[in-house]
Amino acid sequence: MSSIGTCAALAAAILAFAADARAQSWGPGADDKAFAEMLRTGFRNAGPVSVDRLVQDDTQAFCSDPAVANSAAGAKRAEQLEAANLAAVKWPSDGRFLGDWRAGERIAQSGRGLTWTDAPNQANGGNCYNCHQISMAEISHGTLGPSLHNYAKLKGTDEQALRDAWAKIWNSKSSNACSNMPRAGHMGILKEKDIQDIMALLFSPDSPVNK
């Protein structure tokens, strides 16, 4: 890969994003040109991870300036982005929302995959326990996201509840443009089967989540 080509593409992408956003909250010295140059000199390719990852999509660009994202104009833009992300959700190809909750628990525990030190064939984890309480048996859980304990008891298990949860896991930005949660399906972090397994962890009556 040509690093010059990558850098040029990167700078162009960043400037394109800048043209799209208004009312930036950055002070003198942090204009788009200076920032793009800082990014260009600030990162390098490592292992399987290239600097191409710095290029943002529309959602990432919008959510990278909280002053814009939280403005009145931002609210309208957020709705558009949510609609676009929702439209991009892929529903289960076999029509089954629920897989194996035990496999789901393993995926929820794992925080591996996609870093520059991970082997390219490393199975990606869901990172779920990093932010959520899930099974009460795991005391080492994060609190960045809400507790998912008793998920099915609280949300029900009807078609709508299943579709909502699927959409949230596949593409969290489908309901909240600047959610802190990764878009597990949309970005290719997890496969369809992985998400079915995590869905089972949340919804299965046998799952420790509902005990």
Binding site: Q109, S110, G111, R112, Y129, N130, E138, I139, S140, G142
Partner: protein, 153 residues
């Protein structure tokens, strides 16, 4: 600050030879060599047998001071205090480690029966302290939970 000559002597002749030569080890108190059999013990009873402990009795006078939870199993602070009169040895075990014996501390007349160190724990496990006093072996056990770390784990 460091006695270079002594260190050379140690490297050349082995520690016991050097101290014996320098008159640092009291006569007749040359320590037993590293107890290989005990450190290779896979179970607490194997390791205990290797240090000559035939029976142990639980005792409140042996105290393990450690947090109930270790944020990381790689470093778990543990203090053992014995109030048993005549304590001559404190032995520390981690039940679920591949080799259960962590350390043997000889308590001479010039030190308190109070030692602190940091151990590795592969997983949540019981930690046992066994104290030798007047030929008896007294024990205390504490469970320490080991939690998984953040991010990639």
């Amino acid at each position: 600050m460091i006695d270079i000559e002594r260190r050379r002597a140690l490297k050349a002749g082995g520690i016991f030879a050097a101290f014996a030569a320098a008159g640092l080890l009291p006569a007749g108190r040359a320590r037993a060599a590293w107890n290989k059999a005990a450190f290779e013990g896979k179970t607490v009873q194997e390791a205990l047998a290797s240090i000559g402990a035939s029976t142990t009795a639980a005792s409140d006078d042996v105290q393990i001071i450690a947090s109930d939870i270790a944020e990381n199993g790689a470093v778990v602070p543990v203090q053992v205090v014995s109030r048993v009169p005549g304590t001559t040895q404190i032995v520390l075990f981690v039940e679920k480690n591949p080799n259960v014996l962590a350390g043997i501390f000889d308590i001479g007349p010039d030190v308190a029966a109070d030692v602190t160190t940091r151990i590795k724990m592969m997983q949540t496990s019981n930690v046992a302290a066994v104290v030798k006093a007047d030929g008896r072996f007294l024990a205390s056990v504490k469970e320490i939970k080991v939690t998984l770390g953040g991010c990639g784990g």
